[in-house]
Amino acid sequence: MTSQDEGKSRARPDKAVLVIAVVLVGIAALVAWDAAHLSARVSTYSRVGAAAFPYTVAGALAILSLVTAIAAFRGTFPERAPLEIGPLGWVAGGLFLQIAILPFVGFSIATGLMFALVARGFGGKPLWASIPAGIVLSFVLYVLFSKGLQLSLPQGPLERLI
């Protein structure tokens, strides 16, 4: 298929783009709703309070959502390649794991495990090799940054050793 008839061969409406339009109008509603609950309009010294700018942004997003919906029906968004769920899942899983266990195991272990899962997603070494490698790397960085630059990173059992 050439780039000229791109999109024309796809199913219309482009459902994913339609979802984007719905999300955008949702954000617009959220911003407007939040602005409506500000008490800014009683401000005496300026008629333009804290709500004016949010209303403008919400209005613009609502218009953009409408244009996005039109684009979905016309199928004018660029061609997309299918997602490869496997590698994506490993990387996303690594990030979620790091967030979940960070308060309990500290920076080095949480980040090391994240490193190993991300490396696995990109077709890297088996986990038994990359998990220790990741933890060692993160621990070295922890020492460098907490001792050298006095940045306070979340501590866990490993960090308390030093």
Binding site: A16, L24, D34, A35, L38, A40, S43, Y45, S46, R47, V48, A50, F53, P54, V57, L61, L64, V67, T68, I70, A71, R74, T76, F77, R80, A81, L83, E84, P87, L88, W90, V91, A92, L95, F96, Q98, I99, L102, F107, T111, M114, F115, A116, V118, A119, G121, F122, G123, G124, S130, G134, L137, S138, L141, F145, L149, Q150, L151, L153, P154
Partner: protein
């Protein structure tokens, strides 16, 4: 000659041994990170910002200047050898330079990019030193309405950067403006879009957003297209030195690229890729060998690369004199200033002249260091390119989360990083530009402040926004930028007859 004296004292500051060391660390780290595939200067600066947290403002900004220029040099190396431009401004370098590398002329391509960047960077920094004080003089008379108009212009041009879709650019901008709304409204003290979450009261951190959207977003995107992207590194064969013929074909493109890049970069309008494209087509027209273009013409690397660096120095003009970032990289520089409570703008030149001129002087220092360091060390940088992808992307995410946690060691901040990373990934997948989000996030609150100030002065009369000649002129330009492409397409459609493509989308 007041500015000349100020520049001299800036040079004195920048050449103190400890500051030279900061500059050296900055250029080394900047090059090392910038050379990694897919990492552009903006992400380099965002990733390395936490390294500068504990330094004093002067040392930090000097290291910053080094990181900025180092990231640009590193980016051109990976563009040439790997064809992975980290940002749109390196696309031409990647296009033409990679062809040269494939033809076994990688060495001269790297050399002409490095020396061209040095020449362009030096001339442009000198111009910056002379132009900035003049603009400061003018800018002191600007009122809030003028500033608001300038910011609207920056928003408009950043989101309608040419080649992309205006719909997606504007959507990205307004998502950034939404993120910028989060937190306490400074004028009334009310929390907006915080939903009672205390961590949100301070707003969304610009560095978290930049690292999340660029680093995590890019990593997730590459992972989602893993089997489609096979990268091949072109080995640097033969000498890295340029022959006499290479020199004679390079020096004019360097100067022409500088002449294009600096003024366009210095306009408060953004779009670093425009001068590189202009330079490329100009060199192609002026060349005696137009047939070589597209197959590895040295002019096609020398000109655009000089234009890229000159416009990068140019963007520092509106950043320092007006507080107006027009590229994602400049937005990160602004974040760097803000971490010390410094607000770039005309007043900074009188309140902190040492800092401003120290920064300008250290751009010279960094530029010179890079020329000396880079070509001899090219072998080291090439080795950085051959890091296997699992380690590379694992390492990028380790550094990304390290920087975020170093700035704010909380689970919440890490969740924000991941959330913004997924947003960045989805935007990348649906071909939305990411830079307008960053510009909207950092510039949105400033624009709102100027708008409300202007309207407070006029007691709510919106006519005050278009009272000065400058603001009227700027809005006319904005209208042209937004409506021009629509009108052009409508005309073209009339000629073509039956084309049903919608005008807003392309």
């Amino acid at each position: 000659m007041e500015s000349f004296d100020a520049l001299l004292s800036g040079i004195a500051l920048a050449t103190q041994p400890i500051n030279l060391l900061y500059a050296l660390i900055g250029v080394t780290l900047g090059t090392a990170v910038g050379v990694l595939p897919g990492i552009g200067p903006a992400l380099t600066v965002a990733l390395l910002l936490p390294v500068t947290f504990k330094l004093d403002p002067a040392g930090s900004l000097i290291m910053f200047a080094g990181i900025y220029y180092g990231g640009m040099y590193g980016g051109s190396t990976s563009s040439i050898l790997l064809n992975t431009p980290g940002e749109s401004a390196s696309m031409i370098t990647a296009l033409e330079g990679n062809k040269m590398a494939r033809a076994g002329r990688g060495g001269p391509a790297l050399a002409t990019a490095a020396i061209g960047s040095f020449v362009a960077g030096s001339i442009a920094t000198a111009l910056l030193a002379f132009v900035a004080p003049a603009i400061v003089e003018v800018a002191l008379s600007f009122g809030p309405a003028d500033y608001f108009a300038l910011m609207v212009l920056a928003f408009t041009t950043v989101s309608s950067a040419f080649g992309g879709s205006m719909l997606r650019g504007l959507t990205a901008l307004f998502i950034g403006l939404c993120l910028g709304l989060v937190g306490i409204d400074l004028q009334t003290g009310q929390a907006r879009l915080a939903y009672g979450v205390p961590d949100l009261l301070d707003g969304v951190e610009v560095t978290t957003a930049a690292v999340g959207m660029f680093a995590l977003g890019e990593t997730l995107f590459v992972a989602s297209q893993l089997s489609r992207s096979q990268e091949t590194i072109e080995a640097v064969r033969g000498s890295v030195w340029m022959t006499a013929k290479d020199w004679s074909r390079s020096w004019k493109p360097w100067l022409r690229g500088t002449a294009l890049g600096f003024p366009i970069g210095a306009l408060p309008a953004g779009g670093a890729e425009i001068p590189t494209f202009l330079s490329y087509s100009m060199e192609k027209q002026l060349s005696k060998h137009p047939e070589e273009f597209g197959h590895g013409a040295i002019e096609g690397v020398a000109g655009p690369e000089a234009a890229n660096n000159a416009s990068a120095a140019g963007t520092i003009v509106p950043l320092l004199t007006l507080g107006l970032p027009t590229t994602a990289t400049a937005a990160m520089m602004l974040a760097g200033f803000q971490q010390y409570g410094l607000n770039p703008g005309p007043l900074l030149f009188t309140t902190n002249p040492d800092l401003v001129w120290g920064l300008i002087a250290s751009l010279f220092v960094a530029n010179t260091m890079l020329l000396v360091l880079n070509l001899p060390l090219i072998g080291v940088w090439v080795r950085m390119l051959s890091i296997p992808r699992p380690w590379l992307y694992g390492g990028i995410l380790v550094f990304a989360t390290l920087g975020t946690l170093g700035a704010n060691p909380s689970q919440f901040e890490l969740s924000m990083l991941a959330g913004l990373g997924f947003l960045g990934f989805l935007m990348r997948y649906f071909d939305y530009p990411v830079a307008p989000v960053i510009i909207g996030l950092i510039l949105g609150p400033l624009a709102e402040q100027q708008l409300r100030r202007a309207l407070a002065i006029s007691q709510g009369d919106p006519a005050a926004l278009v009272e000065t000649g400058l603001s009227i002129g700027i809005y006319v330009i904005c209208a042209l930028v937004l409506l021009g492409p629509l009108a052009m397409r409508a005309l073209r459609r009339k000629k073509a007859g039956s084309d049903i493509r919608p005008a807003f989308e392309d």
